[in-house]
């Protein structure tokens, strides 16, 4: 059995770590690229959203490398994502790209449900080993998140353009290569060191912008046209409302791990604007705007795939939120036609807007 899964940012580090810990063969699909998208677009329904198209591309590319089993998350509620795994499997069958499909749906009541699904991949390996593997994968996700957060802070202050990106890539590779928990601890220290030595003007003030919205387009840089890098190079410190370890803890471990920020902090403050589930993370998106405004952020950017229903609901509520919390919010919709030049123009204009607003505020208060 050779297991593969779709790309979503650095999620591969965590999943690969977990599966290899159990001695399962893993095929990581090549990073999302134009080729991935072209394959996906060609074989997906036109009206499907960008994540589905990239997933299909990932699976076709992974098949070429010998993968035979797909491990994929499922979902529930009005968002289409819930049945993507099955739709994708049907598309692949039609293409004669044969796979075994294992869907990891969020447990409804008890973590045991998740463990049952995991059994399909792990066979009869002892439970203790499986739990250790899960923990190992989770630790990797946490490690990756830690260095990513460092990159958010360093990039706007780097002295040589691109140096943060190079360091981040090396840091992620170190974490990826760790085979045991002990190795991982050492790798993380070295990775953080790599980030710390990037030449930067640490004290330089920077605007703070939150990236909020749909999880896939937030986490997968190919889908969001590298928005974090562009913002960083415009001198902006970003924070992402959704980090991998947080998502895993919230959705797969049902919040069992302590000390991980949870999306509950967003749900709690969404209430005056939206107080029921609208599918996907629409509720969290609305709440995150409020939350970041209260943390003193200068602005927020909502990112979503074209036709994403929960996010469209959130989008229609955000202007009201923006006016009341007095924080500008811009929405960027991603699809296969999104051009980089147009995106940069909008980002620049938005950052200009935030800068001028901040200058005005400072002039008033000083």
């Amino acid at each position: 059995m050779k297991v593969t899964f779709p790309h979503m940012g650095y999620m591969y580090v965590s999943l690969k770590g977990m599966l290899e810990y159990l001695g399962i063969d893993v095929v990581v699909p090549p990073a999302c690229s134009k080729k991935t998208l072209t394959l996906g677009v060609k074989h997906s329904p036109e009206f499907a959203c960008l994540p589905l198209k990239l997933n299909i591309g990932n699976f076709i590319e992974a098949k070429e490398l010998g993968a035979d089993t797909i491990m994929m998350a499922g979902g529930c509620g009005p968002c289409r994502f819930g049945y993507y795994a099955y739709v994708e499997n049907e598309i692949l069958k039609d293409l004669k790209v044969d796979y075994n499909l294992v869907v990891m749906e969020p447990p409804e009541k008890h973590i045991g449900e998740l463990l049952g699904r995991i059994r399909k991949i792990t066979g009869n390996r002892p439970w203790l080993q499986i739990i250790k593997a899960l923990r190992f994968g989770f630790l990797k996700a946490k490690a990756v998140d830690e260095v990513e957060v460092l990159s958010f802070q360093i990039r706007p202050r780097e002295l040589v353009r691109g140096s943060t990106d190079r360091a981040l890539q090396k840091a992620i590779n170190l974490i990826d290569e760790a085979k045991t928990t002990t190795e991982l601890t050492i790798a993380l220290e070295r990775a953080k060191e790599l980030m710390r030595v990037v030449p930067a003007e640490r004290e330089r003030p920077a605007l703070r912008v939150a990236l909020i919205g749909e999880i896939y387009t937030l986490l997968e840089p190919y889908a969001n046209v590298n928005i974090e890098r562009h913002l960083g190079q415009l001198g902006v410190e970003v924070d992402r409302s959704m980090m991998l370890s947080q998502w895993v803890n919230d959705h797969l471990f049902m919040g069992l791990v302590r000390n991980i920020p949870s999306s509950d902090r967003f749900k709690k403050v969404a209430a005056p604007y939206l107080n029921h589930f609208v599918g996907g993370h629409g509720l969290e998106t609305v709440g995150s705007a409020v939350w970041y405004a209260r943390q003193g952020y200068d602005g927020a950017i909502q990112v979503l795939p074209f036709t994403c229903m929960p996010e469209i609901v959130a989008q229609s509520i955000l202007p009201k939120v923006s006016a009341e919390v007095d924080m500008p919010i811009m929405t960027l919709i991603m699809d296969e036609h999104s051009g980089e030049a147009g995106l940069i123009t909008r980002l620049e204009a938005f950052i200009d807007l935030l800068k001028r607003k901040k200058e005005q505020k400072e002039a008033l208060t000083s």
Partner: protein, 325 residues
């Protein structure tokens, strides 16, 4: 004479203005970009040099538009700004106190909301061509009328025909249908203007609070029919500023003035830029399956800019060597 240059390089047209120290626009050029931004700007600078007195001193240069980075490097610009900021700066300079800017150009349209002289919100529409200048051009030529007459004819429409304006394809077929039904041309044109305005307000201006003074700029602002339709839909007077057609360039010149007024000496390389040989070469990077088409600009044999790479490998390599110097 002393003054500032503003250059707006779009994919379709390139505008250059020369503004004196009292911020009066003395010269303005409109050129077709024809896919060759550098050659176009060089041609423009040559024309400008021959029009301006020999003792002209350029105190600062600003660039905007999709080619702003490239032309900024080529000319040595002091301010390189996106077109939204440039348009907002120009509008609030020419119409002090403006709160809403409606902008419709050849390819794209935008709305900018200003409060207290600062951009408070904006939206831009580039995906759908409905409501843009090229669509009006097309319809004028299909109906066999000069685009300059379009607006005046539309003004004569007494009872505008309702045209489906949700999308250019529907609008065109609906117009043909209304013609076949025998409505007169003036009413159809007036109806088309109203449909395009509706489309703009629903798509670009959606959710924005439009307050007066309202400024209408961009190539389409020349069309009085469109202006009338905006006034009717908004219930507000709509002003078209004098340089409605070159507002991006005006804004870029103003931004350059702002930059050098902080005491930073200009980086303008001089009108001699027009005679230097610039070459654009391309190569396909095979570093990964993105196979980016990387474009490389050389000035007298030396690479001065690279772009088009998705990962930043090439653009950043240049930045790193710059830092090493």
């Amino acid at each position: 004479m002393k003054g500032y240059l503003g250059i707006d390089v779009g994919s379709v047209s390139t505008n250059i203005v020369f503004m004196n120290e009292a911020t009066e626009v003395l010269e303005s050029l409109y050129l077709r970009t024809n896919g060759q931004p550098v050659a176009t700007v060089q041609r423009g600078l040559k024309q400008l040099r021959s029009k301006l007195p020999a003792n002209t001193i350029v105190k600062g240069v600003g660039t905007t538009g999709s080619g702003r980075q490239l032309i900024g490097i080529v000319t040595g610009a002091d301010a390189i700004k996106n077109e939204i900021t440039a348009h907002a700066v120009a509008a609030s300079h020419l119409v002090p106190g403006v709160q809403t800017v409606l902008e419709i150009g050849g390819q794209d349209s935008k709305i900018i909301i200003l409060r207290d002289g600062v951009v408070a919100d904006f939206a831009m529409n580039t995906v759908c061509a409905a409501g843009t200048g090229s669509f009006l051009d097309q319809q004028a030529s299909r109906l066999n009328i000069a685009i300059e007459e379009f607006g005046d004819l539309a003004l004569k429409g007494r009872s505008p025909v309702r045209i489906a304006g949700r999308c250019a394809v529907f609008a065109e077929s609906d117009m043909i249908h209304k013609q076949q039904m025998g409505f007169n041309l003036e009413d159809i044109l007036a109806g088309l203007c109203e449909a395009l305005v509706r489309n703009y307000l629903n798509n670009v201006g959606k959710g924005k609070e439009i307050r007066g003074p309202v400024v209408f700029q961009g190539g389409v602002a020349a069309n009085v029919g469109m202006r009338k339709a905006f006034e009717k839909a908004l219930g507000l007077p709509v002003q078209v500023p004098k340089y409605y057609n070159v507002m991006g360039a005006v804004g870029a010149a103003l931004l350059a003035k702002e930059t050098v007024s902080k005491g930073i000496p200009t980086r303008f390389k001089g009108f001699g830029v027009a005679d230097v040989e610039y070459k654009a070469g391309t190569f396909e990077c095979d570093g990964c399956p993105n196979l980016c088409e990387v474009i490389e600009m050389t000035e007298a044999g030396q690479v001065i800019a690279r772009w088009g790479d998705r990962c930043g490998k090439w653009a950043n390599a240049l930045a790193a060597s710059e830092a090493a110097i």
